[in-house]
């Protein structure tokens, strides 16, 4: 069975390894040069304590490497691609070509066949995903520290690094296998995988993830002058509001003169009619919860994957 699985999927494995190599060819040089620039511009100190010239240096760094962030967003589809090309054909191609009637009538049970296949393929893609996810974390490190708006905790950036790609990849593959048991052709199974994956990811990211842990509220008095890096750094801001001193709501979606300034003087927007004592009210998940959230998110998708595989094996026993 192990030999058979390897023989049937070695082409996918080859293409995946090639894909990883291409990705590495992009990530390793840019990652190294980013790190060099980060050290050369002394940004580590800027991020920690601030200091003269920091704003200019950070701008310089951002203008050089900020656009890479947009490129990296494309990599969000990597788990999906693996699900489409590894997961969907597992059952759908057998049924489409009728070979399920050949392989399922040899001397091993369908359950055995499905468990070995899913186990081996799951293990292989998990290994790929670990390399990919940790590589992306390493690469994204400097960018995430420099720009608070692109904190590694925010949507999209959270999703492409750390251990979450492992969860997403396993989920995508399991979804592909399951889709193949519902639709007996590869292409429709891939389409269903695509729709299901995007749907599940969006639903979890928007509806479930903000509530994994109770968010923290942070109030900062709006004042002229400058602040220092607050404990929002690296955090995931869920909502921002400006309120008057008595708590009346002024506006949302923005903050004024945050404590997380960088030494640049600032004055509150007069048009808002803020009275003294008005404050920024932000609800956020603190940055030190990053790995907890990574683990929870991964756990959710691994659990979904296990559930889908269980359903798939039930379905496989009814396909003839």
């Amino acid at each position: 069975m192990i030999w058979l699985t390897w023989r049937q999927h070695r082409r996918q494995a080859l293409f995946t390894v090639l894909g990883l190599a291409v990705l590495a060819a992009f990530i390793v040089p840019t990652g190294l040069s980013m790190r060099h620039a980060f050290t050369r511009l002394g940004l580590a100190g800027c991020v920690a304590t601030g200091g003269p010239g920091c704003g200019a240096n950070i701008d310089k760094f951002s203008s050089t490497y900020g656009s890479l962030v947009l490129v990296s967003v494309l990599l969000l589809v990597v788990p999906l691609m693996i699900g489409l090309f590894w997961g969907a054909p597992v059952v759908a191609r057998e049924v489409e070509q009728g070979t399920h009637r050949m392989i399922w009538t040899q001397g091993i049970s369908r359950r055995h066949w499905a468990l070995v296949k899913c186990g081996l393929l799951g293990g292989a893609v998990a290994a790929f995903a670990i390399v990919y996810g940790l590589g992306m974390s390493w690469w994204y490190g400097p960018l995430g520290q420099v720009d608070v708006r692109q904190s590694r905790f925010t949507e999209v950036f959270f999703d492409m690094q750390g251990v979450t790609p492992v969860g997403y990849t396993l989920f995508a593959v399991a979804l592909g296998v399951f889709a193949g048991t519902l639709l007996p052709k590869v292409l429709p199974a891939m389409a269903l995988t695509l729709a299901g994956f995007v749907g599940a990811r969006v639903a979890v990211a928007l509806l479930a993830r903000p509530h994994y842990m109770t968010p923290v509220a942070d109030d900062q008095i709006i004042q002229s002058g400058s602040g220092t890096q607050g404990d929002l750094a690296g955090g995931w801001v869920l909502s921002k509001e400006i309120r008057q001193a008595d708590g009346t709501f002024v506006t949302s979606g923005t903050i004024r003169c945050p404590a997380a300034g960088d030494g640049v003087p600032c004055s509150p927007d007069a048009a808002l009619g803020l009275r003294p004592g008005a404050y920024n009210h932000q609800v956020f998940q603190p940055g030190d919860r990053f790995w907890t959230f990574q683990l929870i998110e991964t756990g959710v998708f691994v659990a979904l994957a296990a559930l889908l595989i269980w359903f798939a094996i039930r379905r496989i026993r009814r396909i003839a």
């Binding site: 023989r7 070979t99 009637r101 040899q106 001397g107 091993i108 049970s109």
Partner: protein, 296 residues
């Protein structure tokens, strides 16, 4: 008598439609049996039930005395070649033989290799590039390498040209004669069956119309020609399978249950093919007229 395959009131339903219904068949050991019927008669369904791909919705099927669904003990002793002889097309014949060894506890790779060598199948060409006849031979070789007690073949020759068909059936007959394997092979090409099979199951619209040893079946059936028949019993006739009438004459295809003594009827022997067609043609027309909602 030992029966390798027994179906009892077997039924399988897809949605609301019965693909197979009240199917009662017993296949004695050592026979080469033909499963005959038009497309959609339930032949594949019966074979899939027998090989344990499907679970019955009614009645039961036993192979070697056990229910075959999800039963690897039974599966180990069945050789099955599905319709269109599916094999992994990107595998070479050599790799397919190797694969068989990995997924079967009992596997005689030497048998398969000797067979394929004798047939001149190239070992290192992807089987997708072979001809349909060669691919069918590869599938058969894989099924035989399990050294099965029962060989089930679903339309193995349907897509082959007449020459490849004859070669396939000849090589099949050659190997089952040696090993004493029991064979159940479905087909709608009747001409081939008369030469190869000694047992017959006729399936029509999900029901068994006729089953038994070919010799018995041929011996039992007669075509009678005589005066216009109006349904009165004829001595020695068990059942009228098909009747055609003109104003003065009737031609009946009958199943006898004793000697025919009535001198007003002239009896003719029938070929197996005529007989099968008689069983199939009649019901076909009726079903079609019902489906179209017009009187027959």
């Amino acid at each position: 008598m030992e029966y390798l395959l027994e179906a009892d009131q077997l039924g399988k339903r897809y949605g609301g439609r019965w693909a197979l219904r009240d199917c009662t068949v017993r296949l004695p050991a050592g026979r080469v049996a033909a499963l005959v019927g038009p497309n959609g008669a339930g032949k594949s369904t019966l074979l899939h039930l027998a090989v344990g791909l499907l679970r019955p919705d009614a009645g039961g099927v036993r192979v070697f005395g056990a229910a075959p669904y999800e039963n690897t003990t039974v599966l180990a002793e069945i050789g099955f070649v599905a319709q269109d002889t599916p094999v992994y097309r990107d595998f070479t014949a050599d790799e397919l033989v190797r694969m068989g060894g990995k997924v079967n506890r009992r596997w005689d790779a030497t048998v398969a290799k000797a067979r394929l060598a004798q047939l001149g199948i190239p070992p290192r060409t992807p089987v997708g590039k072979l001809s349909g006849g060669q691919r069918a031979q590869v599938a058969l070789a894989l099924a035989l390498a399990k050294r099965p007690r029962l060989l089930l073949l679903d339309e193995p020759v349907a897509s082959l040209d007449p020459l490849a068909r004859r070669e396939f059936l000849q090589s099949l007959m050659g190997s089952v004669a040696e090993s004493g394997t029991t064979v159940l092979l479905s087909s709608h090409i009747l001409a081939d069956l008369e030469r190869t099979c000694d047992f017959l199951v006729v399936l029509q619209a999900g029901r068994v119309q006729l089953s038994g040893a070919v010799d018995d079946i041929v011996a039992e059936h007669r075509q009678l020609v005589g005066p216009r028949h109006r349904g009165e019993p004829i001595d020695g006739v068990g059942a009228v399978v098909r009747a055609r009438h003109t104003d003065r004459q009737s031609t009946l295809l009958v199943r006898t249950d004793g000697p025919l003594r009535d001198p007003s009827w002239t009896a003719h022997e029938l070929t197996l093919e005529d007989l099968i067609l008689a069983y199939l043609a009649d019901r076909d027309a009726q079903a079609n007229h019902e489906a179209w909602g017009v009187p027959a």
